[in-house]
Structures are given as C-alpha cells and as structure tokens.
Symmetry: C2
Subunit: 145 residues, 2 copies
C-alpha cells in the first residue's frame, strides 16, 4: 500500500506543519488543510467543521503564545493509497524561550487523514488528544518514555 515517493510526500506535510508552527505562520499552516476539514482538537471544542472555523482557532493559538512554539513528531506511522493517506504520531508541542531553551512541553497523539491529487496532500481530518487518567479523571499531558 505504501510506496516510497508517496510516503515522502505525506511526510512533507509533517515537516511543513512543524515549519509553520515554528514561524507562527497561520497562512502557511492553513494551506495544509482542506476546505471541508473536520478537526477533533485536543482542547476545548468537540469539533471544528471546515477550514474557516479551524483558522480562527489556529490564529488564537499562535497569537496567544508568548515566545516560540515547536512541534516535533515521534513514532510516526504513515500509509498511502491512491488519493488517500493517513499518518499517526506522538507530537511534542514545546514553548521555546528566546535563548532557544524549551521552557515547557506536552505531548499529544495525532491522527491525520489526507486527500491527494497531483502531488499536493491536504488534511481532511485531524484528531489530536491526550489520554485521560481513568482514576483521576485528568488528562495525561506528558508521555514518560
């Protein structure tokens, strides 16, 4: 189901995501998303339906972050079929001080479903979350390796 070229194209979306986050560039970030995207985000809302709703959330995220932000991917699994791809990973979001040190960080699980036509892949569905500690009824925001 995977071939190396397609697999690389899907991973390009991941790198573009990290670059847009690091630059806090909402326009570049939003270009990764399909107009009809459904986002199940880790925070506050059950769903964002469509790129316009999601853009408002992303702008607030970038505007509300004081220093720099980083997003790095671990445990990536990608799968590609004709016109359709998926990627799952653990993402570490970090707050970065002016001297480049990470002042705090947390992890999310991330799932993407992407649609592709002629080389460009866009995210049609995103799901990010943290697992919930069943006993404490609190989210677990750090993955201890």
């Amino acid at each position: 189901m995977n071939n190396k070229t397609d697999d690389n194209l899907v991973r390009q979306v991941m790198f573009a995501y990290s670059r847009a986050v690091a630059a806090k560039d909402a326009d570049a970030f939003m270009q990764l998303y399909d107009a009809e995207v459904r986002v199940f985000d880790a925070w506050d809302a059950w769903a964002y339906e469509g790129r316009d709703a999601w853009r408002d959330c992303v702008r607030a995220w970038f505007a509300g972050s004081d220093g720099g932000i980083g997003a790095t991917f671990d445990d990536v699994r990608a799968s590609v079929a004709t016109g359709f791809a998926t990627l799952s990973a653990i993402v570490t979001y970090a707050a970065i001080a002016e001297d480049g040190t990470r002042t705090r960080e947390l992890q999310n699980r991330l799932t993407w479903v992407l649609r592709g036509d002629g080389g460009a892949w866009r995210i049609v569905h995103e799901h990010t979350s943290a697992p919930i500690d069943l006993g404490k009824a609190k989210p677990i925001l750090r993955r201890v390796p």
Copy 2:
C-alpha cells in the same frame, strides 16, 4: 470518492461495533480490528500497538462493566477510496441498567482508518478522545448539544 455500496460496507463496521459492545462479545469486537492495529484510546495509555495489546484492554473493559453497555454514533462522516476508508463520529457510551434505562453516559470523538480487501473492512487505526478544558485542565466528557 464515495460510492453508496462501499459507504454502506464501512457503516457496517459501525453497526457491528455497537452490536459487539451491547453483547460484550470481545471475540466479535476484535474481528473488526487488523492484526497490526494502532489504537489511541481515550483512557490511560498513549497507544496500544497490535491486536493482542488491544484485546487485553477490551476484555478488561467488558469484564469491568456491571450492567449493560451501549455505543451509539452521531455526526458520522465516512469516506471510501480503493482499499482504504475512514470514518469519524461522536460516540455515546452508556451504562444500561437491567430495566433498559441509561444510568450514565459520556461522549467521545472517534476516528477510524480502515483497510478493505474483498468486502471485509478492518480497523487499522482507531483514535478516541474527549476534548480537554484548557482553563480547568480537565476532560470534557459530556457534549452539550
């Protein structure tokens, strides 16, 4: 990308999921999953890698539930390509007393990626979660319409 027959086949997985939960039938439930499935479950663990790890969790879930359990799907979006499909939805999990009344319930967002060959679709990736209230740092387990 969707055609009606394939779309119905993917929705069959949803109905089979609900039936297996209602019957607390772990064997029927596990038949919906691929051997290499990666599950990002809403509770306790960052990931279950493979059907064997996931089966242990499912058995504990069914064994730990006193009365009946129900799983119903709302806001379903399904998309099907050759050999590959995805479904996202809001799932309501309910505890059901002997007289059939729901004693409590909670919602999750659910994402499935499925692989199909010759009619049978199996889940290769599942992601369930609740959004986290950013201010309270607590999961939101009920969706108020």
